[in-house]
Amino acid sequence: MTDFIAASLLLAGVALALVASIGLHRLPDLFSRMHAATKPATLGLVLTLTGVVIGLGDLSAGVKLGVVIIAQFITAPIGAHLIGRSAYAAGTELSPDTLVDKAVSDALGGTTAAPGSESGN
């Protein structure tokens, strides 16, 4: 029974990694791609590593993988934020169907949207 749980967790985590790498290709601009890239780093690893702990069944592996999961939960968002901030500051272009460019609209008092698109919400 435990093997079945471990196998399903493992496959779920691995499937998430595949979905993320497909997302890297299909999503229009850098920021949505980053959105896809951080999913496996946190949830994918949680699923995979829990599957590993259940599959191996010894406590020392659980402690090690707990450290990895906590480390990833802290570092993945920070890393993504760092990259997003510096990429935005360096002026990477947004995809044409961006509705609202928050940074610009906040700076300009929240009224204008990204150029060439009506201001939605």
Binding site: A61, I83, G91
Partner: protein
Amino acid sequence: MTVVTTVALGILAIAGGLCLVRLVRKGSVADRIVALDTLLVIVVSGIAVFSVRRGDGVYLDVLVVTALLGFVGTATVARFIDRRGA
């Protein structure tokens, strides 16, 4: 269990290949570092699946180091982009 780990490693290989293709394609530095970060997570998952296949937790220490080094790399490139521009 071995069948499952083989299938999992196969899926990870495909995901890794897609990330490599993403690396080669036209894109800014930030695109490449995002793809590299994903590739690193795939390697970490691969090591985890491999250690299930082996049945012992010998290689799990590698995961801790790799996860943290990945973050250091991403932060360094972010600083690099700040200074040099995309």
